[in-house]
């Protein structure tokens, strides 16, 4: 057998039927391209959510008061007063896996400057809070230990509040705002952080020493939330266990008693959101799988039909001396060329879809090698098989029967 000649024959045959070749390739292109595109969109969304969550804080762990029973009545979480400043000092003393700890109390209210006012939230925290939540100072300074101890009336201001009280391009540092009637001197501004993935404006806030918010505004002694950073992501689970142990001891809970607090971590949130976007990926994968199937059926059809309709050509080739095997190899080469070039174009097409979609949706571009390999293999195998199978049938015909085929 002369493969050079048969390859030439196959290429000439494809050239003669460019449109049919294009249609066959189109099935493969769409099949491969959609699988790659869809899965990359799914993975990209997952990655994007993960990034958003990690931007919320560095290995962040937070402790909320648990709901409590008082005389058989289940109390809401906000009423609980189970977390105290002694918990904080105990954690600071004993915890090994935490790099930073901060209490948080918050009060909502109206911030007033001159004739302008704006509803916002004031968070009372420790200085380490900024690191834990990944806030950055744009200008000015953070409050000192002394200011915390002395219930200092100082605060940091978020971009949204600045814009609404002072307008744009005004330096608010040194100015005074009134929050719930109490004047706070602005000592620093926060860098813009934008919205979080739930659409909350993370720049609509004032940050003040927790002591000031506790005593001057809320008139409470307990704290609402504890924020902490684990020393590393891997130590996150160990840190959670450690916090639970320390707090239970500090709250003097019996071994079988329910904890009166709850510990959550960023990695848990990532898992929760990941499971949602995993569902999305599965869904998109299923759609892509269906397009692969439809593409595959398209390939089958056009391959089968084109070989069948070329039975007469096969008869002619045999009548001038083509052997059954020559015919078979010719059609196989055609199918391989179509499938491989279709597959390659499909991969490029899929990457293009991925690129465009992730750019438009602002997702990170994730290229899934498995998607490329699997879709390429599936389409090529279908293409080659359905080029080979009818050709084998035709090649087995008597030349005269193939010639008479209409």
């Amino acid at each position: 057998m002369n493969y050079t000649n048969l390859t030439k024959i196959a290429i000439n045959a494809l050239k003669r039927n460019k449109f049919r070749a294009f249609l066959t390739m189109l099935g493969i292109i769409i099949g491969v391209g959609s699988v790659i595109g869809m899965l990359s969109i799914g993975e990209g969304s997952k990655k994007s959510i993960q990034q958003e969550i990690s931007s919320m804080g560095s290995n962040m762990i937070f402790v909320m008061p648990g709901s409590q029973r008082r005389g058989g009545v289940q109390m809401g979480r906000s009423d609980a007063k189970s977390l105290t400043l002694s918990d904080i000092s105990q954690l600071k003393k004993e915890a090994m896996y935490l790099s930073a700890i901060s209490p948080q109390v918050s009060a909502s209210g109206q911030a007033i400057k001159g004739n302008k006012n704006w509803p916002t939230t004031m968070y009372g925290v420790d200085a380490s809070y900024l690191d834990i939540r990944k806030y950055e100072l744009e200008d000015g300074r953070i409050f000192t230990e002394r200011e915390i101890k002395s219930l200092g009336k100082v605060c940091l201001i978020g971009k949204t509040v600045t814009e609404n009280l002072f307008g744009e391009n005004v330096d608010p540092i040194g100015q005074t705002v009134r929050f719930n009637g109490i004047p706070f001197k602005i000592i620093g501004t926060l860098k813009e952080k934008g919205q979080n993935q739930m659409g909350m404006d993370q720049d609509d806030m004032l940050i003040a020493p927790y002591t000031s918010v506790q005593r001057r505004i809320l008139a409470i002694t307990h704290i609402q939330t504890i924020y902490a950073s684990a020393v590393s992501e891997e130590k996150s689970d160990a840190a959670i266990d450690e916090i639970i142990a320390i707090l239970r001891k500090n709250h003097k809970l019996e071994a079988d008693a329910e904890s009166d607090f709850e510990v959550r971590s960023q990695s848990e949130m990532i898992q929760t959101f990941s499971s949602i976007s995993n569902m999305l990926t599965t869904l998109l994968g299923a759609i892509a799988g269906i397009s692969l199937l439809v593409g595959g059926i398209g390939i089958m059809n056009i391959m089968y039909v084109s070989v069948t309709e070329r039975t007469k050509e096969i008869g002619l080739r045999m009548s001038v001396g083509g052997r059954g095997n020559d015919i078979l190899v010719q059609f196989l080469i055609e199918a391989v060329l179509l499938s491989l070039s279709g597959g390659l174009i499909g991969i490029l097409f899929g990457l293009l879809i991925s690129y465009i979609a992730t750019t438009l949706l602002n997702f990170p571009l994730v290229i899934m090698v498995q998607a490329i390999v699997i879709s390429f293999l599936v389409c090529s195998v279908i293409g080659i098989f359905f080029g080979w199978y009818p050709a084998r049938k035709a090649a087995g015909l008597n030349p005269i029967d193939a010639l008479r085929h209409e």
Binding site: N2, I9, N12, R16, V320, G321, G322, N398
Partner: protein, 253 residues
């Protein structure tokens, strides 16, 4: 010049259609020598086409022997038959059977593609030579749909010549052509025969059969009679007698 090219003995062919058995050929004996120009004639269903298909190794006989140039084709498998068709036979069809959207040159090259001994350069040279032989030296790169019926049949004849076969088999080669073009094709066949080509030509038209040297008439799957043609037509002379402005082509077509 009397080397036996085709020798057929007791050749039978039966088709089974349901319960019925159709005898297309019943014990045919026949001999064709080198340099002959034979017409196989007969009405539809007389078995003449079946005979030609078997001679062309496109179909297998149900019984009997067929020796082509000293090779018994009964003993050959499919691949060997294909090789035989490639090296010893040239087949011409009534409907030309050219590959569409393929140039005349490539169509003529086709048989040589299946002969691995022929290199690309030689393949092209032989195809050009064959096309020049049939008078299409200026039509190498035309597609079949850019050629007239007669020109298409010339391409098919060139294709049958390109592998230098021992015998050319033509199945109603003028059946789709008008009178003048038929004569022109017959002129070409006569020229090829004069140069020594052995030609077997199936036709049902007695007029066409008179261009050949010998006629074998089939009837009901048997050879009814054989005649040597007297007063053989010369295509060149007949073409000269046709009116110059060819209105008659419309009438006789």
């Amino acid at each position: 010049m009397d080397h036996v090219i085709i020798k057929v003995e007791g050749l039978r062919k039966e088709y089974h259609i349901g319960e019925m058995t159709v005898h297309a050929l019943r014990k045919v004996d026949m001999e064709i020598r080198q340099g002959e120009f034979v017409a196989i004639m007969g009405a539809s269903g007389s078995g003449k086409s079946t005979m030609l298909n078997i001679l062309g190794c496109l179909d297998k006989p149900s019984g009997g022997d067929y020796m082509l140039d000293g090779v018994n084709m009964r003993k050959l498998n499919k691949n060997q038959l294909a090789g035989l068709r490639n090296s010893k036979l040239g087949f011409i069809f009534q409907s030309y059977n050219l590959l569409p959207r393929t140039t005349a040159l490539e169509n003529v090259e086709l048989p040589l593609y299946y002969n691995s001994k022929v290199k690309a350069k030689e393949r092209k040279e032989r195809a050009i030579h064959a096309l020049e032989q049939v008078g299409l030296g200026d039509r190498f790169h035309h597609m079949p749909n850019q050629l007239s019926g007669g020109q298409q049949q010339r391409v098919a004849i060139a294709r049958s010549l390109v592998n230098d076969p021992v015998v050319i088999l033509a199945d109603e080669a003028t059946g789709n052509l008008d009178t003048r073009t038929s004569y022109e094709i017959m002129e070409l066949f006569q020229k090829l025969n004069d140069n020594g080509k052995t030609i077997v030509f199936v036709t049902h038209e007695p007029d066409i059969a008179r261009f050949m040297k010998r006629n074998i008439i089939f009837r009901d799957g048997r050879i009814q009679r054989e005649v040597a043609v007297e007063n053989r037509f010369s295509a060149t002379e007949l073409i000269a007698k046709l009116p110059k402005e060819d209105d008659t082509d419309f009438l006789s077509a």
